[in-house]
């Protein structure tokens, strides 16, 4: 048995779901053979990595692995990756093809500024032998000189119709029974993130091939715990100590960063059962906390400051 996110990852331009305009343009660039550096930006799970892989497979055919370097900036942050790994790969000629090699650098927004400067130089120096495909969640975190060296493509979350076709395709091949209610549930829990859709489907399928909406919610609750609303409620009730302990607990057991937590908090606040004005206040506070968290060094202290401010609201 294979993992479905890989099994159903498209390997041809024609197989990609969603991002139709982008795929069309990129395909033309790739076929033309003179592809510029590319920058893919957009949220997770909507096909950035997939499209990069498709480009490599379509351009290089069987030899794609030798001519394609995949690395991500979040595990191998910093200047060393750029200096060593990428340079080593970029300075040799591509194997059995006239196209330049492709270097895919994922999660570029976590590169430090110094590393981005180094990257910019590398992009220039090796422009003859290699093309870069950069991917990031927010292109604003990349320095201008990098953005200006790339053709920028902004990926959008897949709409309901496109997600449905992903689901139908897998359901047919795996012999799953999925009702419209189930599809709605999937759409509800996955926020247009295809990776999450497929992971959820495979997890549900180990339980039963006939998948009902409850199973979807069950799996999703297991994979993405909702305890964060407990933290908010404790903070609103001025039970600061309990709320911060719970928060640390959640962060450590699930390996979540401060930014992950802020995102979840924000989503929970919107659904919270309190007055509109209070919600608005909370969202504002969240915004300030996120700003400080990005600017600061100890994420947890920033989150605690946020929890303490919730205590003044009611």
């Amino acid at each position: 048995m294979k993992i479905w996110t890989e099994k159903y990852r498209p390997s041809k331009f024609g197989e990609v779901f969603g991002q139709r305009d982008i795929v069309k343009k990129v395909k033309a660039l790739a076929e033309n053979g003179n592809m510029p550096h590319l920058l893919f930006s957009g949220p997770a799970g909507i096909g950035k990595t997939t499209l990069a892989l498709v480009i490599a497979k379509e351009m290089f055919g069987e030899n794609w692995k030798g001519n394609f370097l995949e690395t991500n900036a979040s595990d191998e942050r910093g200047i060393d990756v750029i200096r060593n790994k990428i340079k080593d790969f970029a300075r040799t000629k591509s194997v059995s093809t006239e196209f330049p090699k492709i270097i895919y650098l994922d999660e570029c927004d976590s590169l430090t500024r110094e590393a981005q400067q180094a990257l910019r130089r590398t992009m220039e120096t090796y422009a003859g032998s290699a093309r870069f495909i950069l991917s990031c969640n927010f292109s604003s975190k990349l320095i201008d000189p990098i953005q200006s060296r790339c053709a920028v493509f902004r990926f959008k979350p897949l709409d309901k119709e496109e997600i449905t076709s992903v689901i139908d395709n897998i359901a047919e091949k795996e012999g799953l029974k999925i009702s419209n209610d189930t599809k709605n549930a999937l759409f509800d829990v996955c926020d247009g993130d295809v990776r999450r859709v497929i992971n959820t489907l495979q997890s549900c399928a180990v339980l039963n091939k006939d998948i009902g909406p409850e199973t979807i919610y069950e799996v999703s609750n297991f994979a993405r715990p909702k305890e964060i609303d407990v933290v908010i409620k404790m903070a609103l009730n001025r039970d600061f100590e309990k709320s911060r302990n719970k928060l640390l607990d959640i962060m450590l057991t699930n390996g979540l960063s401060g930014l992950d937590i802020i995102k979840q908090l924000q989503a929970e606040i919107i659904k919270l059962d309190v007055e509109g004005k209070t919600k608005l206040e909370m969202i504002k506070l969240c915004g300030e906390a996120e700003f400080r968290l990005v600017e600061g060094s100890d994420e947890f202290i920033q989150l605690e400051a946020l929890l303490a401010s919730f205590g003044l609201l009611q």
Binding site: K2, E6, V206, A223, E241, S257, D298, S309, G311
Partner: protein, 389 residues
């Protein structure tokens, strides 16, 4: 009586606690008769590793360490001879120049140059050890060497080594106390063995988390400072509250963070955390721009900012506690060690970073593992067991 860290020096490379990758790299250099500079914090077995390899491979070591004079003359005499001559016992040699950082500019005048000259045509492998290879005075040497990093020894390994020593010294110990020692030394195995010897002097190992004397003294001072800041509202009382505290501003912040909620509620709590949060932003800016003048603001926020979060001075006794956060983080890292090894192994199959794998894919794999329907990922049995938990 020998200190244990000498008595239990590893005899051959099978006994080493060092990262096997680094050991193999080093062996390769020795075999090629090359030049290597091995670096890492103290207690990461740099010297022991060279000695153990020499023992195992029947090499003779010609050593020069920081206690030797290392001016150009001495270097030529000791090493220069060693580099050319055949050994008396027909053994192969390894030239070990220990603690290269310790070559002094003044006393060891010309040492670096002499050494670098000798390295041009070495007949035997030359290994240098350094705590910090990027010090400019050894630039010339570094450029000629293969750099091999010795990472801090992980605490599980340290616990293993300590356990063996306890067994052969017939010491009564608990796993917990070994863990405390291992944790406290931060990857320095020599430090750990020394600690063990001190704490197990009478055959029973007793350590509690704060048993170190100087630790206690440090703690006393920070507790006084916290008292001034939390209790008083008078400007002159809390100005300079941290002057005598021997811990840095980051640790002060951890202490404040832990104890604010024991003293403050509601609006006070909010204002105190606001000050802490602003101080934290300055911390980052200091690090990023190396602009240390910001430290003035950090200390003001940590003293006045916290003290004036309240309107009236506080009475009553509150027992201040050390921050539990670092310990919790450490314990969770231990528990989630497998999570790391799994994601290191598997994240590339998913074409994603470890961080995003842990967040987006791992929970689903756990669910599949529980139902014994895990996809083929080449995981070890114990990793699969961890997923099922």
């Amino acid at each position: 009586m020998k200190p244990w860290c000498e008595k239990y020096r590893p005899m051959d490379d099978a006994e080493l606690a060092t990262d096997p990758v680094a050991v193999n790299e080093l062996k390769a250099v020795i075999k090629k008769k090359g030049i290597a500079m091995i670096y890492g914090n103290s207690g990461t077995c740099k010297t022991s590793t060279v000695e153990a390899i020499a023992n195992g491979g029947n090499y003779e070591i010609v050593e020069m360490n920081a206690s030797d004079f290392r001016d150009s003359e001495s270097i030529k005499n000791v090493i220069g001879g060693g580099l050319g001559q055949q050994s008396l016992f027909q053994k192969e040699k390894i030239i070990l120049i220990d603690e290269i950082n310790g070559i002094s500019g003044r006393e060891d005048r010309g040492g670096v140059q002499a050494l670098s000259k000798l390295l041009m045509n070495n007949y035997y492998p030359v290994i240098m050890t350094a705590e910090d290879p990027y010090v400019s005075k050894i630039n010339v040497l570094r450029k000629k060497s293969k750099l091999i990093e010795f990472k801090p020894i992980d605490s599980e390994r340290i616990v293993g080594v300590l356990k063996n020593i306890c067994e052969s010294e017939k010491i009564k110990y608990s796993d917990e106390s070994l863990k405390i020692i291992a944790r406290r030394v931060g990857g320095d195995i020599r430090g750990a063995i020394n600690d063990l010897q001190i704490h197990a002097a009478n055959g029973i190992l007793e350590v509690s988390d704060d048993s170190e004397e100087n630790e206690r003294e440090r703690e006393g001072r920070i507790l006084e400072a916290l008292m001034l800041v939390f209790k008083s509202t008078k400007w002159e009382n809390f100005q300079g509250a941290y002057d005598n505290v021997r811990v840095d501003h980051k640790e002060i912040m951890l202490w404040l963070d832990q104890n604010i909620p024991y003293e403050y509620r509601g609006k006070e709590l909010f204002s105190a955390y606001d000050a802490l949060s602003r101080a934290d932003i300055f911390n980052r800016r200091i690090m990023r721009w190396q602009y240390w003048r910001y430290l003035v603001y950090v200390y003001q926020l940590l003293s006045s900012g916290i003290a004036l979060a309240k309107n009236e001075s506080k009475k009553g006794f509150v027992k201040y506690k050390r921050s539990s956060r670092p310990l919790k983080i450490w314990m969770s890292n231990q528990k989630n060690f497998k999570r790391k090894t799994i994601s290191e192994k598997v994240s590339s199959i998913f074409h994603t970073s470890m961080k995003s794998f842990i967040k987006e894919d791992l929970p689903y794999l756990k669910l599949m593992a529980r139902h014994n329907k895990l996809p083929e990922l080449k995981l070890e049995p114990e990793e699969i067991e961890w997923l099922k938990k």
